[in-house]
Amino acid sequence: MNKPPEERASDVTTVSSAEHTRRDFLYIATGAVGAVGAAAALVPLIAQMNPDASTIAAGAPIDVDLAPIADGQIIKVFWRSKPIFISHRTKKDIEEAQTVNVAALPDPEPDSARVKPGHDQWLVVIGICTHLGCIPLPHQGEYDGWFCPCHGSQYDTSGRIRRGPAPKNLALPPYKFVSDTKIQIG
């Protein structure tokens, strides 16, 4: 420590480049603790933007009584702020949905995969266009299903995309038949 200044200065450069010192250790340790701390601080800052407890609680399953829905009628209910279409399909609707050449569809899916077995007349889909989230209009378009007014996507009576920019069929919400005339969505 008692060397003349010029020698001390050269010491510093050789030491820091050639060997590991306590200063290197402190430098790396401080950086590591800082990085971990910053990453940990990001967790609450990012997670707070996800759905909060009350939003999740309000998304509990709902029961829908199907009895009042007439043949050919489509109703709209809300579950988790999303519109759900419940379509009471006519014989003609079902026939159209089942006779399509599945392989030729943009998002190939047979009608049987879109309804519950033995409940062919009930189609339950999330009423959000898979393009950019608009709500398609029922009983419109060339395929007797839905037509999206935003960008012109057309869906058939099985809620499958037939034409337009939407990449996928209308999504199916999780639901089950509680009885023949009642479903639980969620």
């Binding site: 933007m49 939003t55 950019l132 007014p149």
Partner: protein, 408 residues
């Protein structure tokens, strides 16, 4: 550029301050004696106009925030309250809403000016990129502000724009839920948009400081695109540039006032005076006019993911302009071919805007595709090749020679 400041305050108080914080000298060297090219035209006044508009938006925005309620049940009502009950609320809101349009109008002139005169070329690349960042921040701010009104267009704009992120493979839906804070656009979404809409203008102001700083390091470009070589090529910022900026700002504000007082809703949509209804999508949804060209590009492409990528790329590509344009001549004045492609590009941008407002069917889709191809070809094909093949006109020896003739 400016060299050492000659600032010598007369007053004892200012001398005292200058020794402790040389802010007077900074202002003096940046806005008084700062040399500007003597041949700047009125297109160079839009930087000042933009700074003014940012100020207007911040001031009117802060007072509107005193009367606005960011809640899904109260937001629309509070905006109507501003229009009907708050003292001068109608004026403040129309100033803010039309101010956004004027801000974008000015930024588009500013950007086209930069492209025409090659203002992004070496050594002004960083200056240009900072401008692109400001533009991106403006787009985010304008979009979120539009959502706050919570009318039908607000709600469905929020839905469509946030759904753009659902195109990301794998994590898209997770990201969209995170953006919403729920399972659809709702109260949490409105609240966070309000918070960010208040924040972002100050972020813009910060980047504007960097933009002006970068400008004052490299100096202004000018219509000839050649650098000032002697004192004869420049004049002092004050009074020359201040007077010119001030005059044209006043003219611009007359246009602004005409919108505010005579046609305040001309640029808006009637549907946004219907309160947001998550159950019904309006039959024809379109964004505000300043986003229409990008909306047209999105819709021109029949695939969702590629459409979203094209939309993003159409904006991000601007940041690469300094390297895509290979010509060493800056100004379009001396680039006869570039000038034609440039004006075609302007027509295409305006045309895309018009197509964005039309329904996506028939001839509109075909035109939008042709225009989209030109938009990208301008950056990726035409600009790189022009630098190699174009025969440019001879440049003048100096700015003063171009202004005064060879005898100077």
């Amino acid at each position: 550029m400016s060299g050492h400041s000659t600032y010598q305050p007369q007053s004892k108080v200012l001398q005292w301050l200058e020794k402790r914080l040389p802010i007077g000298g900074l202002v003096h060297s940046s806005f008084v004696v700062y040399p500007v090219p003597r041949n700047l035209n009125y297109l160079w006044t839009f930087g000042g106009i933009l700074a003014f508009m940012l100020g207007v938006q911040i001031v009117t925005g802060i007072v509107l925030a005193m009367h606005y309620t960011p809640h899904v049940d109260l937001a629309f009502r509070s905006v109507e309250g501003i229009m009907r009950d708050v003292n001068y609320g109608w004026l403040l809101r129309y100033l803010h809403a039309n101010g956004a349009s004027m801000f974008f109008l000015a930024v588009y002139v500013h950007m086209f000016r930069g492209i025409y005169y090659g203002s992004y070329k070496e050594p002004r690349e960083v200056l240009w990129i900072l401008g692109v960042i400001i533009y991106l921040l403006m787009m985010a701010t304008g979009f979120m502000g539009y959502v706050l009104v919570w009318g039908q267009m607000s709600f469905w704009a929020a839905t469509v724009i946030t759904n753009l992120f659902s195109a990301i493979p794998g994590v898209g839906d997770t990201i969209v839920t995170w953006l919403w804070g729920g399972y659809a656009v709702g109260n949490p979404t409105l609240n966070r948009f309000y918070s960010l809409h208040y924040l972002l203008p100050f972020v813009i102001a910060g980047v504007v400081v960097l933009h002006i700083w970068a400008l004052h390091v490299v100096g202004q470009n000018n219509p000839t695109g050649i650098e000032p070589k002697s004192e004869k090529d420049t004049v002092a910022f004050t009074p020359y540039a201040t007077a010119k900026d001030g005059f044209f700002l006043a003219a611009f504000v007359i246009l602004y006032a005409w919108f505010v007082f005579y046609i305040p809703n001309f640029l808006g949509h009637a549907d946004n005076y219907i309160p947001a209804n998550p159950a019904v999508t309006p039959t024809h949804i379109v964004p505000e006019w300043y986003y229409l060209p990008f909306y047209a590009i999105l819709r021109a492409i029949p695939d969702k993911l590629i459409g979203v990528i094209a939309l993003g790329a159409s904006i991000v590509i601007l940041a690469f302009l300094p390297w895509l344009d290979t010509s060493r001549v800056r100004s379009a004045r001396y680039r006869p071919l570039f000038r034609q492609f440039f004006w075609l590009f302007v027509i295409v941008c305006v045309g895309l805007g018009w197509l964005g407002s039309k329904p996506p069917e028939g001839i509109y889709v075909i035109l939008a595709r042709v225009f989209t191809i030109y938009y990208f070809a301008f950056f990726l094909v035409i600009l790189p090749l022009l630098g190699i093949f174009e025969k440019t006109k001879p440049l003048p020896n100096s700015i003063s020679e171009s202004v005064l003739g060879a005898k100077a």
